[in-house]
């Protein structure tokens, strides 16, 4: 039987059906509808929206971004409209758009994570939840949920109880052993993991002798971090059984295929969306071309890396 075009590209991430493995990364694609003038959302496997909190958040003081060699730092401070406004104002704009919508969520307490997850569970048009655990835990004196396996597991367990939607846990790369983190959230019941979030960095203005960012440090993203991200995806995909979504510096189909071959069942395109708002679709098209040229399927490519 000849494979249809759909089936060669489609992947299923813990029940979230993607027509192709290319999604857009949280915080780099707004709430999705902003990109309608620039790209065809239906050509994407899915969209992950800007991180949502229980209440609207104003974000950090400015400057919030600075360019770095082959990358950028951001310290947006998770500015967002809040989960209610997302459901009532943003989500309806995606109604009828044939692509998976994943809601990225965060909180400063476990209760906040749970509450946001519950609200989304009741809403229509969300295919899954991605938990951002790179957030400081206010109750634990600001240690980041995502660098402590125990705390991360608690968040995941709590969110799982609050929703019937598939749950993806997004891992922070700022750790000694990302496999430990991945296993902890797998044991806590996550349905998939995604990685990597940004790596903490700093740029100094040598004339002012101040950090360029108002918050001193920010998160590094873009092609600069890609080799680190590919390595972590490879390590994690060998350590867990749940599907892995890879990201970090993807600009082209070739970059995305590095992640897929290393073990990612799907990928997310982040910073690249700023350079070209239609780039994620180009990545998906390039993957389709590769899959056809090699007479294979995305599913077969996942983790097809030979080492040694």
């Amino acid at each position: 039987m000849k494979k249809t075009k759909e089936s060669t590209l489609a992947v299923d991430i813990a029940g979230i059906k993607l027509k192709n493995p290319v999604m857009t990364a949280s915080g780099t694609f707004g709430y999705g509808s902003e990109f309608m003038p620039y790209t065809d959302l239906e050509k994407l496997g899915g969209i992950v929206v800007k991180g949502l909190s229980l209440k609207p958040r104003q974000g950090n003081p400015s400057p919030r971004i600075v360019e770095t060699p082959c990358g950028m730092l951001n310290a947006i401070g998770l500015q967002n409209v809040g989960v209610e406004a997302f459901i009532s104002e943003k989500l309806p704009k995606l109604k009828g758009v044939d692509t998976a919508v994943v809601a990225n969520i965060f909180g400063e307490t476990i209760d906040e994570y749970m509450e946001v997850a519950k609200r989304l569970d009741a809403s229509d048009g969300v295919s899954g939840i991605e938990i951002n655990i790179s957030c400081p835990n206010v109750k634990k004196g600001g240690i980041v949920f995502g660098t402590d396996p125990g705390e991360a597991a608690k968040v995941v367990g709590a969110v799982k109880k609050s929703t019937r939607l598939p749950v993806i846990t997004k891992l922070s790369p700022n750790v000694t052993d990302i496999k430990l983190m991945a296993k902890a959230v797998e044991d806590a019941g996550t349905d998939a993991v995604s990685l990597i979030n940004t790596i903490t960095g700093m740029v100094v203005d040598i004339e002012k002798r101040r950090p360029v960012l108002a918050t001193s440090t920010g998160g590094l993203s873009g092609p600069a971090i890609r080799p680190i991200a590919v390595r972590m995806v490879w390590q994690v995909s060998q350590a867990v059984r749940v599907p892995v979504i890879g990201m970090g510096g993807i600009m082209t189909a070739k970059d995305a295929l590095e992640f897929i071959i290393a073990g990612a069942s799907a990928v997310q395109v982040g910073t690249a969306n700023f350079v070209d708002p239609n780039i994620a679709v180009k990545v998906a098209e390039g993957i389709a071309e590769y899959v056809e040229r090699h007479g294979t399927t995305v599913k077969e490519l996942v983790g097809s890396l030979t080492t040694g």
Partner: protein, 265 residues
């Protein structure tokens, strides 16, 4: 508003650090104050696009919103991105995203218009002036060499007053010094230039009871309101919108000056 790859028609040095860049582009409708994001290199460094105001729309049709077949930008070489741009030759291609932003609101016919520009701030004001064809321009620059484009304003029949830091042309000192005295509550001020100049212009306008629009600059990643990187703090006047931070790229770059928290700019 799609991203498009367009051909460079010319890229000429105007003065020691300024270039005029002509792009062959069947433009969408462009309003004065709009900007474009250029990708100066296909490579990964610099990674991000660079924002530039539109100076001219060539062979333009339309009154407030212009459609043409070319645009002209004027840019100053300040760093890596503009350095690379200055090495481009006619026939090479560039990716352009735009037009972006909100543009200058049209003035009420009863209002006097004073435009005030610092350095490259002249760019969007020229397009504005060329559509409304009235008002006075106050132009501040480092020295005479940087004021060449002022003749384009004179060609429109507009009065131009100069201020230069080195005193080589007009008033020696800040261009905002020229603002005092020329504005009244019946004036609308349109300002573009470095932040301290805009702050001063906003101050003076507020004191004189004049309305003032400023066009802000901020490092940008996306240019389309999604990265939330180009935020500036809004003043309490903005409170009704319940937004502490506003985005220069999508809420601006033109703002009514009283909506900005000038202490945190």
């Amino acid at each position: 508003m799609q991203e498009q790859t367009v051909e460079i028609l010319y890229n000429e040095r105007v003065s020691s650090r300024y270039f005029r860049l002509g792009l062959k582009w069947k433009t969408p409708a462009i309003a004065p104050g709009h900007f474009v994001m250029l990708r100066v290199s296909d490579g990964l460094d610099p990674l991000l696009r660079r924002p530039f105001g539109v100076y001219k729309v060539l062979n333009a049709k339309g009154k407030d919103r212009l459609r043409g077949d070319c645009i002209e930008l004027i840019y100053q070489v300040v760093g890596k991105g503009t350095g690379i741009l200055s090495g481009k030759t006619p026939g090479e291609k560039l990716s352009v995203l735009g037009p972006l932003g909100n543009g200058f609101p049209a003035p009420h016919p009863s209002q006097d218009i004073v435009m005030i520009a610092g350095g490259m701030g002249i760019v969007p004001l020229y397009l504005f002036a060329s559509t409304i064809k009235r008002g006075a321009l106050l132009f501040g620059a480092r020295g005479k060499a940087e004021t060449l484009v002022a003749k384009d304003f004179k060609a429109l029949g507009l009065k131009v007053k100069f201020a230069t830091e080195d005193g080589s042309l007009g008033h020696k000192g800040y261009v905002t010094d020229l603002l005092r005295g020329v504005i009244t509550p019946a004036t609308t001020v349109y300002a573009c230039g470095p932040a301290p100049m805009l702050k001063k212009a906003a101050d003076i306008s507020a004191k004189e009871g004049a309305r003032c629009y400023v066009s802000l600059e901020r490092a940008m990643a996306c240019g389309i309101g999604v990265c939330l990187g180009c935020a500036v703090k809004a003043s309490t006047h903005n409170e009704k919108e319940n937004r502490n931070y506003i985005m220069v790229c999508s809420d601006g770059p033109v703002f009514e000056s009283r909506l900005i928290d000038w202490d945190r700019i």
